[in-house]
């Protein structure tokens, strides 16, 4: 419905009576609404299909569901294990995000604020990781994780997510810590504040805006990860510990065979809605966090 109100043509301008100038906004809106529909229709279609019966999906992809079949959602959540995959994703991302932010902030702070031999080498070692395609590491990474006995385990995946988030986190936060005023740190030191207290009590709170944008970027990076879980969550019994991305693609293959399309759409909707809802609530932070992440 919002679309309709947005497309209302503008009231004619007071002066500047050029016909061409009046048609421009209309043309703009035609194109803009077109792309908005192209973006939203597939999502709306998935949500609507999650309430349909398989028969309705098979006979007409464009029909509306005859009633709200929440049982599709229940089936996807329970029998297709989307609930479990969701929980696994949440556990891994929560842990990985905590490690990433703590370790990233620690390394970045020391690299930005302390002079010591080898600091530049360490800085380049960290940030150099941004240049290498992750595919180069896949084969050896699989064996590193397996040799540590972490293949197909949630802690293993957590550590790997955190490790691969460090290059960007250190890069961004080093620049950020450099911009913080030195006078506050000096004053705290004069007052007898130690290095550790200075970091946790003074510097971390001051760096909050930077930490928030990096955290949002890392959250999206880790939550949306695909290739790392596909490679690392293999082996016996690993499917109990799959994350959402993996579980959903497996569901897409299985339900296709079994013909349970409504269950598949319900699984997709369950995976999609929480992040979309979070985005709608915090869209400004999301957009700036992602922009900061990709403008590296």
């Amino acid at each position: 419905m919002a679309l309709l109100t947005e497309t209302r043509p503008e009231s004619p301008p007071e002066t500047f009576p050029q016909k061409a100038q009046r048609t421009v906004p209309v043309i703009s809106h035609v194109f803009l609404v077109g792309w908005a529909l192209l973006t939203t229709l597939p999502l709306v279609w998935a949500v609507l299909s999650s309430f349909k019966s398989d028969n309705e999906i098979l006979t007409d992809p464009w029909s509306l569901p005859s009633r709200l079949r929440w049982e599709n959602w229940a089936r996807a959540w329970g029998q297709a294990h989307i609930g479990r995959y969701f929980l696994n994703s949440a556990i891994v991302v929560t842990g990985a995000l905590a490690i990433t932010m703590l370790f990233g902030a620690m390394a970045a702070y020391v690299l930005a604020r302390y002079k010591f031999r080898g600091s530049r080498i360490i800085y380049f070692a960290f940030t150099g990781g941004m240049m290498f395609p992750v595919f180069l590491a896949l084969v050896p990474l699989f064996f590193v994780v397996r040799n540590l006995g972490l293949l197909g385990t949630l802690p293993g995946l957590t550590l790997v997510y955190a490790a691969y988030s460090l290059p960007f986190t250190v890069f961004f936060l080093t620049a950020f810590f450099r911009t913080l005023p030195t006078s506050v740190a000096e004053a705290a030191m004069v007052d007898g504040c130690g290095h550790f207290r200075l970091f946790f009590r003074v510097m971390l709170p001051m760096a909050r805006p930077g930490l928030v944008s990096v955290a949002i970027f890392n959250f999206l990076f880790q939550w949306n990860q695909y290739v790392l879980p596909i490679v690392l969550m293999q082996g016996e019994g690993a499917e109990r510990r799959w994350v959402l991305a993996q579980g959903l693609t497996a569901l897409a293959v299985n339900e296709g065979y079994r013909g349970d399309f409504s269950g598949l759409f319900a699984g997709m909707t369950i995976a999609m809605l929480p992040v979309l809802a979070a985005y709608l609530l915090f869209h400004r932070q999301f957009q700036s966090g992602l922009a900061a992440g990709q403008l590296r």
Partner: protein, 301 residues
């Protein structure tokens, strides 16, 4: 003095350890493994020097995949940046023009929020969603075509080698445009409005102002966009694997998928690592070429 050293050590060692084990050591080992014939089944392997790379040169599947990545590298940035610039300028200067200057369209914030949707969805969701969209009988696309009477155009999109690659490309464009609309839109905020107003008064069309004013002033941002889209184009793994799995008959294969299958389906870890090394040099080459091509004087305001 010791306090400071201890502090530095305590703060650097845990991150370095984590990073060294899971990131640095795999990257280093990849080059080493690429020189072996390791099959993964046995712990033994021999060093075969550059044999894997020689084999790569004559591997038709690899070259097909490279060609697809090359096409993506050409088409994805052009299409995405083009659409991104087009929509961003519609939003920020596509409104009416009057004495007070050029206006953005109404509902600009709404468009920015909606266009960004695909960016926050995970690549797995997008892949599964579009696989369903393209489905021959139950998909929305063919449903639409049949609905408007174009039954002849309702084909098996993903099952036809003529279309599969383009279907994948379309999804990659679909999922990336929104981010660049927001990115370019933010950059356009810093362009003074009177520049547009003056150009329009001088009789310049909107297209001319886009090409002559917006693009030169946004050149730095466009460059960044290009780099990021090149990374997406060299990868492409997730979308391709989910939607077509490289098929039918490798008509949509990409290098990342080749590597994954060579390693984890065929167990040829040495050869797969060689593909990884090739991919690394491909990335470096693209980066070097890019830096040469885009060197251009910045427009100062």
């Amino acid at each position: 003095m010791w306090g400071k050293r201890l502090f530095i050590a305590v703060f650097l060692l845990p991150p370095l350890l984590l990073y060294g084990i899971f990131v640095v050591s795999p990257y280093a080992q990849a080059f080493q493994i690429s020189g072996t014939n390791w099959s993964g089944l046995s712990p033994t392997f021999e060093f075969v020097g550059l044999d894997n790379f020689r084999r790569l040169l004559g591997d038709g599947y690899f070259w097909t995949a490279i060609r697809h990545n090359g096409l993506l590298l050409l088409l994805l940035p052009v299409a995405t940046i083009g659409l991104g610039l087009f929509f961003a300028s519609m939003i920020s200067v596509g409104g009416r023009a009057d004495r007070a200057g050029v206006h953005g369209v109404r509902g600009a914030g709404f468009y920015r929020v909606v266009y960004f949707f695909p960016q926050v969805l995970s690549v797995a969701i997008i892949g599964v969603l579009w696989k369903q969209m393209y489905a021959p009988h139950t998909g929305m696309i063919n449903g639409f075509l049949r609905g408007i009477g174009l039954d002849a155009l309702a084909v098996a999109w993903l099952g036809d080698p003529r279309f599969s690659f383009w279907c994948v490309l379309a999804v990659l464009i679909w999922m990336n445009v929104g981010f660049y609309v927001v990115l370019f839109g933010a950059a356009m905020q810093s362009i003074p409005r009177d520049l547009y107003e003056a150009a329009l008064l001088d009789g310049a069309s909107r297209v001319t102002t886009l090409v002559r004013i917006t693009v030169p002033l946004l050149w730095d941002t466009i460059q960044v966009a290009w780099v990021y889209l090149a990374i997406v184009a060299i990868d492409g793994f997730a979308i391709v694997q989910i939607i077509t799995d490289g098929g039918p008959s490798s008509s949509s294969d990409v290098v990342g998928l080749r590597l994954y299958k060579t390693a984890f389906a065929d167990g040829q870890f040495g050869y797969a690592s060689a593909i990884g090394v090739a991919m690394f040099f491909l990335t470096l080459t693209v980066a070097a070429m890019f830096l040469r091509v885009t060197r251009r004087d910045r427009v100062e305001l």
